[in-house]
C-alpha cells in the first residue's frame, strides 16, 4: 500500500517536473532562510541560559524617582553589596562586578584585555568553571588571577601556565599577579565576558580604595543569588528599610525637587532583574524589562517566509489537482476511503517537504559563515541545538507539513466521486482561497519592502545627520599603551604637530561614537545647584577639545592656555544651561562641595555625544589634562585624509610600538553605534527580497496554469480580432488587482508599524506616503514582469494551434 503511494507520488512529481522543481526551489529557499533566521533569533534568546543557577541570579539595580521622571540605575557604590547582604534577608551570595580594559604585560608582550574585578562569590554564583587550578575559589588570594583559556593562549601561547605571573596595568596602577586557575572559555551566549578575573579590591585607588564607605560614588554593577524560597518581589519589598537607612539624603532631595514618588510612595526602590534576560534588558520608566522584539521579529519573518512558500505549495497543488480528478474518482470507485486518499496526497506533500527541508538544511549549513558576518552574530547550530529546540523544530515542521500539505489533500479527498470522474471541479470557490492567499503573500512582501525603505532611510538619516561636531575630519583612538597617558599625549603632539595635514590634537576621557576598542563609558555627576539637585554628564578634556572636534561656542569661550584659572572652569552645553535655569549661564558657579567650585566660562551648542536614540542631555566639560587622557583626537585636513591617518598611525607605532592602534574617523565610530539598526535593516531587507522572490515563484507557477487553462479562450479571442497587447493586459489585469488589494491592506499596517518603530528615535525621518507607494509599485512591477514571460508568449501564439488541441 505505502509502496504504491510512494511510487505514484514519485511518478507524479516526476511528471510535473516544472511544478515540482518550482515547489522544491521555493520551499528550499524558505526553509534555508528560515533555519538561519531562527537560529539567529533563538541564539539571541538563549543568552545566559547556561548558568546552573540562572533562575536565582539577579542583577541589582534601583529605580530613582527624579524630577524628570523615574530613572533606572545599575551602578552601585562600594559599600552597597556588603551592606545589602548583611541587612536584607534573602541574599544567598552577592558579588560586585567591574569590567574594564586593562593592559596585560608578560615580558615584552603587552596586550589590551578585559578584566573582571569581582568578589569571591562570583565564581559560585555564575557558571564559569575552572578547567585547571583552583576550582572552588579561583581568586581566593588577592594576588591571584584567573584567566580564560583564550587569554592564556594569547599571553603565553599555551594553557599550561598555573603559577606563572603576569603584570596588569589599570588606570595607571601596575601590579603583579599569579595565575591560579584557567577558566573554560565563556560560551558565545554569555553577556559577561572577560579575559581575566581579579579580586575586586585590586582596582586603582581612584576606583576602589578612595571610595570605601562612600555611598555617593557609584561605579560598578552588583549581582546576587537569591536564597531559596524568596521571590524577587518579596526581596524588593524587604529592601525598604535598607534604602531608608542609606539613601535618606537622596530621597529627601528628590522630594524637595518635586519628584513624584512611585506607587508605593518610595523615591528609591531597589529591584532585581533576572540575569537570564540581561542581554535584552532595556529601561522603561526606570524599570528594566527584557525587550524581545528583535528576536521575535526575526522569528516572525522566518515564519512569514515559510508561510509564503507554503502558500505557493497550496496554490500549485490545488491548481494542479484538476489534472488528477479522474484518478481520484477512479480510486474512489475502486474502494478508496477518504482517509486513504488523504494520506496518499498528504504523503506526496510530505515527500516534497522532506526533500525541501533536507536541501534547506544544506543551504543553511553552507551559508552559515556569510550569514554570521552579515548579521554580526556568533550564532551556530550547535549553540542552540538543545533537545527542546530540536523537538520544537520537528514539531513545527510537522505542523507546517500538516497544514500546507494537508489542506490540498483534504480538498481532493473530499470531492464527490461522480464529479471527480467527470473531471469537473467548480473552481470559483477555490479561486477565492487562492486569491486570498496571494493577497496575503503580496501584502507581506509589500510590508517588508516598505519596511526596508523606511529602515534604510532612517539609517542613512542617522548616519549623515549633523551631530554638532566634525565627524569627517577627526581621527580618534584609545591611549592603550604602557606609558603614562599625559606623556603619551606630549609625545604625540611633538611627533605630529608640525606635520602637514594635521590640524589639531586633543584628548578626552570618553569616546564619541564607538571606537575600534569597543569600550565607552558614561559618567554622570550630581550636585546641588541653588537648592535643587542637578545631574549632568561629565567629560574631562584637554585643551583645544571644542576646536578639534568642531563644537560651536555660542557664548563665552572655550578653554585657553592663556588663562591659568581654567582648570577651575567648565564649559557646558545648551541643555545644561537650560537645566541650571540661569539667565546668563556665564554667571553661574558650580559648587561640588564647600571647597571645590567651578565657574562656567562658555556654552557650546548642543551636540550628540550619545547614541542617536537619546535626546541631547546636559553635559559639562572639565579641563583636566591629567585625567582626560584616555582617548586622543586628531583633526586632519580634508585633503589627503588617508595619508594623514597613516601619519597618525606611524606616530603611534613609534611612541607605543607594542600597543595596538585603534584609530578611526569619528563617522566610522558613529556607524558602529548604529549596529543594531544596520542588522535590523539587513534582516528586514533580506526578508523582503526572499519574500518577493518566493511570491514571484508562486505567481509564475499560477500564471503558467492560468495560461494553460485559458489557452482555448485566448485562441478564440485572437481569432475574433484581439491584439497581443489586449490579451496580455487581460491576463495581467487579474493579478494586478490582487497586488492592488494587497497594497491597500499592507500599506496602513506598514505605516503603523514603522511609525511605532520610529517613535523610539528622537531624530527621525518623516514618514512619507511615497515610500509606501514606491513599495507597492515595485511589487506590482516585479509581479507584472514575472507573469509577462508566460502571458506574452501565450498571447503571441498562433491561435490555430491552440484551438486544434481542443
Amino acid at each position: 500500500m505505502n509502496k504504491n503511494y510512494l511510487k505514484i507520488a514519485f511518478r507524479n512529481l516526476w511528471k510535473n517536473l516544472t511544478f515540482t522543481s518550482l515547489n522544491i526551489l521555493g520551499l528550499t529557499i524558505a526553509f534555508g532562510v528560515a533555519i538561519l533566521l531562527s537560529t539567529y533569533a533563538l541564539f539571541q534568546l538563549s543568552y545566559d541560559e547556561f548558568h546552573e543557577n540562572k533562575d536565582s541570579i539577579y542583577q541589582v539595580y534601583s529605580t530613582d524617582q527624579l524630577p524628570d521622571g523615574p530613572e533606572g540605575d545599575v551602578s552601585k557604590s562600594i559599600p552597597f553589596a556588603g551592606a545589602l547582604q548583611e541587612e536584607v534577608p534573602g541574599v544567598e551570595k552577592i558579588t560586585r562586578f567591574n569590567g574594564r580594559g586593562v593592559l596585560v604585560l608578560n615580558g615584552d608582550k603587552q596586550l589590551t584585555m578585559t578584566a573582571a574585578y569581582v568578589d569571591p562569590d562570583f565564581f559560585s554564583i555564575f557558571s564559569f568553571p575552572a578547567i585547571k587550578g583552583e576550582k572552588n575559589n579561583p581568586i581566593g588570594k588577592k594576588s591571584s588571577v584567573a584567566i580564560s583559556e583564550a587569554a592564556a593562549n594569547k599571553i603565553f601561547g599555551h594553557t599550561d601556565v598555573l603559577g606563572e605571573s603576569i603584570r596588569v596595568i589599570t588606570e595607571g596602577k601596575e601590579s603583579p599577579f599569579t595565575v591560579s586557575a584557567i577558566i573554560e572559555d565563556m560560551p558565545d551566549q554569555s553577556s559577561i565576558k572577560f579575559d581575566l578575573a581579579l579580586d575586586f579590591t585590586n582596582q586603582s585607588d581612584f576606583s576602589y580604595a578612595d571610595n570605601i564607605g562612600d555611598w555617593d560614588k557609584e561605579n560598578h554593577e552588583v549581582y546576587m543569588q537569591l536564597a531559596k524560597g524568596v521571590t524577587p518581589q518579596q526581596f524588593e519589598k524587604s529592601t525598604e528599610a535598607f534604602t531608608v537607612a542609606h539613601y535618606a539624603d537622596d530621597m529627601a532631595a528628590a522630594k524637595r525637587d518635586g519628584a513624584q514618588p512611585n506607587a508605593e510612595g518610595n523615591y528609591i526602590q531597589i529591584r532585581l532583574f533576572p540575569v537570564a534576560d540581561i542581554s535584552l534588558a532595556e529601561f522603561k520608566n526606570g524599570i528594566a524589562t527584557a525587550n524581545k522584539t528583535m528576536p521575535f521579529l526575526v522569528l516572525g519573518i522566518s515564519f512569514l517566509i515559510i508561510f509564503i512558500a507554503s502558500v505557493n505549495f497550496i496554490n500549485m497543488s490545488i491548481a494542479k489537482s484538476t489534472q488528477r480528478l479522474r484518478e481520484i474518482g477512479m480510486r474512489k470507485t475502486l474502494g478508496a476511503g477518504k482517509s486513504q486518499l488523504f494520506f496518499q496526497f498528504w504523503g506526496e506533500s510530505i515527500l516534497v517537504f522532506i526533500i525541501s527541508v533536507a536541501l534547506g538544511m544544506l543551504i543553511a549549513l553552507a551559508l552559515m559563515d556569510p550569514f554570521k558576518t552579515l548579521f554580526n552574530t556568533q550564532a551556530t547550530f550547535s549553540s542552540i541545538a538543545t533537545p527542546e529546540i530540536l523537538t520544537g523544530f520537528i514539531f513545527v515542521l510537522l505542523l507546517i507539513t500538516l497544514i500546507a500539505g494537508g489542506y490540498p489533500a483534504l480538498l481532493l479527498s473530499k470531492l464527490g466521486t461522480i464529479q471527480a470522474l467527470k473531471g469537473k471541479l467548480k473552481l470559483s470557490g477555490k479561486n477565492r482561497v487562492r486569491d486570498f492567499l496571494m493577497v496575503l503573500q503580496f501584502g507581506i512582501a509589500i510590508l517588508l519592502i516598505s519596511g526596508t525603505f523606511v529602515l534604510h532611510n532612517q539609517l542613512e538619516f542617522m548616519r549623515t545627520k549633523d551631530l554638532g561636531f566634525n565627524k569627517e575630519q577627526v581621527v580618534a583612538f584609545a591611549l592603550n599603551g604602557k606609558q603614562n597617558d599625559t606623556r603619551t599625549m606630549q609625545l604625540l603632539r611633538d611627533e605630529l604637530e608640525d606635520k602637514p595635514g594635521i590640524l589639531q590634537i586633543t584628548a578626552a576621557n570618553n569616546i564619541l561614537g564607538l571606537g575600534k576598542d569597543g569600550s565607552r563609558s558614561t559618567s554622570v555627576l550630581g550636585f546641588e545647584y541653588k537648592g535643587r539637585n542637578v545631574y549632568t554628564n561629565m567629560l574631562f578634556v584637554d585643551y583645544d577639545y571644542s576646536e578639534t572636534i568642531g563644537l560651536e561656542v555660542i557664548q563665552g569661550r572655550s578653554f585657553d592656555r592663556k588663562y591659568a584659572t581654567d582648570s577651575l572652569s567648565v564649559v557646558i552645553n545648551e541643555a545644561m544651561a537650560r537645566t541650571i535655569q540661569e539667565e546668563n549661564p556665564l554667571n553661574a558657579r558650580i559648587y561640588l562641595d564647600d571647597s571645590l567650585s567651578f565657574s562656567v566660562i562658555g556654552v557650546v551648542k548642543d551636540y550628540n555625544f550619545q547614541d542617536l536614540d537619546n535626546t541631547i542631555e546636559p553635559i559639562t566639560l572639565f579641563l583636566n589634562p591629567e585625567r582626560s587622557t584616555r582617548y586622543a583626537y586628531v583633526k586632519v585636513s580634508p585633503k589627503n585624509a588617508t595619508t594623514s591617518f597613516e601619519k597618525i598611525r606611524a606616530a603611534w607605532n613609534k611612541i607605543e610600538p607594542n600597543a595596538e592602534f585603534t584609530g578611526s574617523f569619528l563617522d566610522e565610530n558613529i556607524d558602529r553605534t548604529l549596529k543594531r539598526e544596520r542588522t535590523m535593516t539587513t534582516i528586514i531587507s533580506s526578508g523582503a527580497i526572499i519574500a518577493i522572490v518566493l511570491s514571484c515563484i508562486g505567481l509564475f507557477a499560477i500564471s503558467l496554469l492560468i495560461v494553460a487553462q485559458r489557452r482555448k479562450e485566448i485562441g478564440i479571442r485572437k481569432v475574433v480580432g484581439a491584439s497581443v497587447s489586449t490579451i496580455t493586459l487581460m491576463l495581467t489585469k487579474d493579478f494586478l488587482k490582487l497586488v492592488g488589494i494587497s497594497f491597500l491592506i499592507a500599506a496602513p499596517v506598514a505605516w503603523w508599524l514603522m511609525s511605532k518603530w520610529l517613535q523610539e528615535y528622537p531624530y527621525k525621518i518623516e514618514l512619507n506616503i511615497w515610500i509606501f507607494i514606491a513599495a507597492g509599485v515595485l511589487s506590482a512591477v516585479i509581479a507584472v514582469l514575472t507573469i509577462s514571460f508566460k502571458t506574452i508568449k501565450a498571447a503571441l501564439q498562433n491561435p490555430v494551434k491552440s484551438l486544434k488541441t481542443e
Binding site: I8, N12, T333, G335, G337, L421
Partner: protein
C-alpha cells in the same frame, strides 16, 4: 440480488425539478445479464451510478443483497460496493501513473489483501486475459481495446458479484467491442451478474434482459427466454 422501488432522482434548475430518474422500479436476480438502452440523457449512467452507490437518489428504496442502501451509513455503503461491485467505464479510467499490473492491483490494496495473495490474484487474471506480456506497460502504451481489457481485469480482481459497465465498448471499434462482449458473456456464464448501459442494439442483444429508458423512466422491458 438487488431491488429498486420507486426511485426518484432530480436536480433543480431555475426552481423547477428536472427528473433524472422518475419512479423507476427494477428487480435484478443473481446471474442476470441486463442491458440498459436509451438515448443520450435518458438516465442510463445515472441509473448505473445509483445501482453502484456512487450517486444518491432523492426518493425511493434500494435493497442490495437484502441491505437497505437508502438507510445504511456512508461507510457501510462503501464497504458494500467495495466487496460486491466492479465498475467498467467507457473511458477505461485507468490511472495513468500506474502500470497495468499496478492498476489491476489497486483495488486489492484498498481491501488490504496480503502481498503474496495479491501477487497470485493479479498473476491469475493477467494470465486469463492474456496480458501477462503487457503488465509493466503504462496505459498510454496500450490500444483502446487493451486498456478496456485491463479495466475489466481490474473490475474482476476483487471477484465481485455484480459488474456495472457504462458503455464499455463506446470507445472501441466493432471488433474490439465484440471481444469485450464475448468476455462479458463468458463471465456471466460463470455466474457474475452484469448490468451494462449501451447504445448499440448488437451489444444489447448479449444481455438476457433489455431495459429501455426514456427521460428517467422505464418504457419497456424485453426478456429473453434462456
Amino acid at each position: 440480488m438487488l431491488e429498486l422501488n420507486h426511485i426518484y432522482k432530480w436536480v433543480k434548475a431555475g426552481g423547477r425539478r428536472i427528473f433524472l430518474l422518475n419512479d423507476l422500479s427494477l428487480k435484478v436476480e443473481s446471474g442476470e445479464f441486463i442491458s440498459i438502452m436509451g438515448p443520450s440523457g435518458s438516465g442510463k449512467s445515472t441509473l448505473l451510478n445509483v445501482i453502484g452507490m456512487l450517486d444518491d437518489f432523492n426518493e425511493g428504496e434500494y435493497y442490495f443483497l437484502e441491505e437497505p442502501v437508502h438507510t445504511i451509513k456512508e461507510k457501510q455503503r462503501a464497504n458494500l460496493y467495495k466487496e460486491n461491485i466492479g465498475f467498467v467505464f467507457q473511458a477505461y479510467h485507468l490511472i495513468d501513473e500506474l502500470t497495468v499490473y499496478e492498476n489491476i492491483e489497486t483495488p486489492l490494496l484498498y481491501k488490504n489483501v496480503k502481498s503474496s495473495e495479491r501477487k497470485a490474484l493479479v498473476a491469475d487474471i493477467l494470465d486469463r486475459f492474456n496480458i501477462v506480456g503487457k503488465k509493466d506497460l503504462f496505459p498510454a502504451q496500450l490500444s483502446g481495446g487493451q486498456q478496456q481489457l485491463v479495466g475489466i481485469a481490474r473490475a474482476l480482481i476483487t471477484k465481485p458479484k455484480l459488474i456495472l459497465a457504462d458503455e464499455p465498448t463506446g470507445n472501441l471499434n466493432s471488433k474490439q467491442g465484440e471481444e469485450i462482449m464475448e468476455l462479458f458473456k463468458e463471465l456471466n456464464e460463470e455466474g457474475v451478474t452484469i448490468i451494462q448501459a449501451t447504445h448499440s442494439e448488437n451489444n444489447a442483444e448479449y444481455g438476457s434482459r433489455i431495459i429501455h429508458l426514456l427521460d428517467g423512466s422505464m418504457v419497456r422491458e424485453k426478456s429473453e427466454t434462456i
